[in-house]
């Protein structure tokens, strides 16, 4: 198994010039994801796609060896959903920063969940816009002063966990880049979940977020109890709304819902991905010519 981690390493990994700041939480998430995937025999670089938007977090696919769709800021979810829908044989991970996913991409976030696509949504939540140099993101804490929010943020902090549960998400978790072991397990479960899975990953931005540091995250989070029943929606919401102490782990789960592609009629009789299907031109011709 140990060897499989190499699978996900770029050939030129040594020369690879990573654009992240030393000490950034993104490094840890990169390693955790590689480790998680290396422990999942069913996944290979060839049968998965890493879809991202734009931002510091969204650069992650470039430090990976796998199929990559590094698209537009805020737009990874529409892309990821339909990659899965047209080829359900692929494992699809949509990964970006919280600004990308909940800010610019907010409308896709809420409506993607309603579809319950069988994709994994990893969000590097550093509570700041990193790449554009430190403006407030939807999850920035109240009071944070930035070069734009010069008197401090006063907008209500966006709550991704509560929002996802409210939208009907079937797997909602929070993890921390500071804890590779447990985060890896959470990510593995998220990937194996049949349906939409959100993992909001707390990630320190050592350059622009001087409030939510490694220490802060450590002091302000806790793991859910082993016996915690993640199937109780109202309980999960209550936990989600507690922003004094951030719960880590799988906060909500629902295994009873069909995934988007499972509901599509194109797969009722034929399980093949669309690219393998031949169009029957003769049949189409008769169809057109029957429109008399």
């Amino acid at each position: 198994m140990g060897n499989r981690i190499e699978l996900f390493a770029r050939n030129d990994e040594k020369e690879m010039d990573i654009a992240w700041c030393p000490g950034c939480g993104n490094f840890s998430i990169l390693n955790i994801l590689k480790a998680a995937l290396s422990e999942m025999e069913e996944i290979t670089p060839e049968n998965m796609v890493l879809v991202s938007g734009i931002g510091q977090a969204a650069k992650i696919p470039h430090y990976f060896r796998t199929n990559t769709f590094n698209g537009l800021h805020g737009r990874s979810l529409p892309v990821a959903q339909m990659i899965k829908a047209v080829n359900p044989e692929l494992h699809v991970i949509s990964e970006s920063g919280e600004g990308d996913m909940y800010g610019e991409g907010g409308n896709h976030f809420i409506h993607a969940i309603r579809r319950n696509p069988d994709i994994t949504n990893l969000v590097h939540d550093n509570m700041i816009y990193g790449l554009t140099k430190g403006q407030a993101s939807p999850t920035t804490q109240k009071g944070t002063v930035t070069p734009v929010q010069i008197n401090g943020v006063f907008l209500e902090q966006f709550n991704p966990i509560a929002t996802a549960i409210t939208m009907g998400a079937t797997f909602v978790a929070r993890a921390s880049s500071g804890d590779p072991a447990q985060t890896k397990e959470i990510i593995k479960k998220a990937i194996r979940h049949k349906g939409y899975a959100l993992v909001d990953i707390l990630q320190p931005c050592v350059t622009f977020n001087k409030i939510n540091t490694y220490k802060w995250f450590k002091e302000n989070s806790y793991y859910l109890d082993e016996n915690y029943n993640s199937e109780n929606k109202m309980k999960a919401l209550e936990i989600a709304f507690n922003t004094e102490k951030l719960a880590l782990g799988i906060i909500y789960k629902n295994e009873d819902k069909k995934a988007f592609h499972e509901q599509l009629t194109i797969y009722k009789e034929n399980k093949e991905p669309l690219f393998k299907r031949k169009h029957n031109i003769k049949e189409l011709e008769s169809f057109i010519n029957s429109k008399i």
């Binding site: 796609v49 879809v51 529409p78 990821a80 057109i288 429109k291």
Partner: protein, 566 residues
């Protein structure tokens, strides 16, 4: 007021939204076609679900009639307001057949038929439209069997309605026969039994079916009039053909979904109108950058902003042409008739696939909502080609090639990895800030334009080979201009129609160099295509015939304006 109609006739039905104008449009065109007539139907309607004044124009001819006429031979109004609404197009020659008493219409050239009373006798005022249809069919001497058999097909899903409707048609037919026998209206248009085997579709259906011939297997769209027609058609056809139809939460999602679809091996399209497309522009640029194809259908309507949502225009050529930030190639097709729509929508997919670029199909409300009969289609030449490549281990998505096209792999097909990036990237697809590579990649992308240009579809020239006057048009003005040209009977005049608007082959200059006077016809206020011709072919347009009130040109109107312009 006795009138004889020989070559063709135009019958207009008008009323409120919700009065079933569309039902009779459907009924009459199909039955008349079954009976061997060439038919054409176009509607104009308000942006509302009920009330207001809408109308359907049905033209019936011995020869193909394929364009809007501003001449109404027979008007059947179902409301008083709709007569008012059409007052500018009613001439002294127009015969109105109406329930004069109930509608309280006062008009000299009228045939009074108590449609509403008859309908009420049958059981409900709503049958009045069917009664009217019966009347018209009698004037065309259409046999009852033809009528019944089509009606049975149309009401197949609602068999409980058939009896009353047949009763209504019969009652109307009786009256029509009386009118015919009285000699007031005499229709002597030749029938042609071959026409009954023609297919009868509208522009939306033609675009959808053409797309399917191009391998379209998925459509992502957010509803927007008049672009929705194509979505609805594909949804309907998806029953018989495996098509993934997904309504997106907004237009931005739609185009990103389509690009995601293509990336993973599907052939996807979006369909919308100008305002919805304006939201897709960043996505167009993405397609250009990552060289992942996408097909975009824009059914134009008058803007700016919400404008006139249910009317027609050709105002969004520039929008498509210059959409997306940065510089990258694209192709734009604009069908002139249904045959072209079938063909160009297919070609749009082929071009998108071959050149790995965004490709546009530009239509308009008038085009997508117009029906007429066309010959059966022949797809035997269509190759079911899919240019995706099975990747090898060291696959480079953006390998530099001579013509700028790199073999396109998809994830999960082959041993390689498919890496695409919206940032500037190297041959593998990885982000780079190496400025030399930037230049190479930008050149690579733009160089595809040369090939596209070389292979641009030829424009069609009609009329005098030895022309002095050349009239240029694009999109839905094709058939209208064709009819005008016939009306004009002016030698030394030809028309040129461009099925592909962009890019153009520089060779096409020759068509303009020959002309002494060049006149353009466009449904907009600024002459967008005329400007493009200047840029692309150095063509100097001497006169621009423009219309931007939301309605299409009629052949008559265009004839007059061309006469003045020549």
């Amino acid at each position: 007021m006795n009138k004889n109609f020989k070559e063709n006739i135009s019958v207009v039905l008008s009323g409120e939204a919700g009065q079933g104008i569309q039902t009779i449009e459907n009924l009459l065109t199909r039955i008349l076609k079954d009976d061997g007539f060439n038919v054409f139907a176009t509607k104009e309607y308000m942006s509302r679900i009920r009330g207001g004044s809408n109308s359907t124009e049905i033209r019936v001819g011995e020869y193909a009639v394929r364009s809007h006429s501003s001449n109404i031979d027979i008007l059947i109004p179902l409301t008083k307001e709709s007569v008012e609404h059409l007052k500018d197009t009613i001439s002294s020659e127009t015969i109105i057949i109406a329930d004069m008493k109930n509608l309280k219409i006062d008009y000299s050239n009228a045939v009074d038929v108590p449609f509403f009373d008859i309908a009420k006798e049958i059981g409900n005022r709503i049958y009045s439209n069917i009664v009217a249809a019966g009347t018209i069919l009698a004037l065309f001497s259409t046999e009852k069997e033809i009528i019944y058999s089509r009606m049975k097909k149309i009401f197949a899903k609602k068999p409980e309605l058939i009896d009353k409707n047949i009763e209504a048609v019969n009652r109307g037919y009786e009256i029509g026969e009386k009118i015919k026998n009285s000699g007031i209206i005499k229709i002597e248009i030749e029938k042609n039994s071959k026409i009954k085997d023609n297919i009868l579709i509208n522009g939306s259906e033609a675009v959808a079916l053409g797309a399917m011939a191009g391998g379209c297997d998925s459509v992502f769209s957010y509803p927007m009039t008049p672009g929705t027609g194509v979505l609805l058609s594909l949804a309907q056809y998806s029953k018989s053909f495996g098509i993934l139809v997904e309504q997106a939460e907004d237009e931005i999602a739609a185009i990103n979904m389509a690009i995601g679809g293509w990336y993973a091996g599907a052939r996807s399209m979006v369909t919308t109108s100008g305002g919805g497309f304006a939201l897709m522009e960043e996505g167009v640029s993405l397609s250009g950058m990552i060289e992942t194809p996408v097909v975009i259908h824009i059914a134009q309507r008058p803007g700016p902003a919400t404008g006139l949502p249910t009317r027609t225009a050709q105002e969004d050529l520039n929008l498509a042409l210059y959409s997306g930030h940065g510089e990258f190639p694209r192709a734009i097709y604009a069908p002139g008739n249904l045959e072209q729509a079938l063909k160009l929508s297919r070609i749009a997919f082929e071009t998108a696939d071959e050149y790995q670029i965004p490709v546009f199909i530009l239509t308009d409300q008038y085009f997508v909502d117009s029906y007429y009969n066309i010959e059966k289609t022949d797809l035997s030449e269509v190759r079911n080609e899919n240019r995706i490549t099975e990747t090898r281990e060291d696959y480079k998505r953006y390998i530099l090639t001579e013509n700028g096209i790199s073999p396109r792999g998809i994830p999960g097909y082959g041993k390689g990895l498919v890496i695409v990036d919206s940032d500037e990237h190297d041959e593998y697809g990885h982000l780079t800030e190496n400025l030399d590579i930037r230049i190479k990649m930008n050149d690579k992308r733009l160089s595809k334009l040369d090939l596209l240009r070389k292979n641009a579809l030829e424009p069609e020239i009609l009329g005098d080979d030895d022309y002095k006057n050349l009239i240029v048009c694009w999109g839905s003005n094709y058939e209208t201009l064709k009819e005008s040209l016939k009306n004009l009977k002016n030698t030394k005049t030809a028309m040129i129609h461009f099925p592909q608007l962009y890019p153009l082959n520089y060779d096409f200059k020759k068509y303009f160099e020959k002309a002494e006077k060049i006149i353009s016809v466009e449904n907009n206020a600024t002459g967008q295509f005329s400007n493009l011709l200047k840029l692309e072919l150095d063509a100097e347009i001497h006169e621009r015939i423009l219309k931007y009130d939301g309605t299409p040109f009629s052949a008559e109107e265009l004839t007059e304006r061309i006469k003045k312009a020549i």
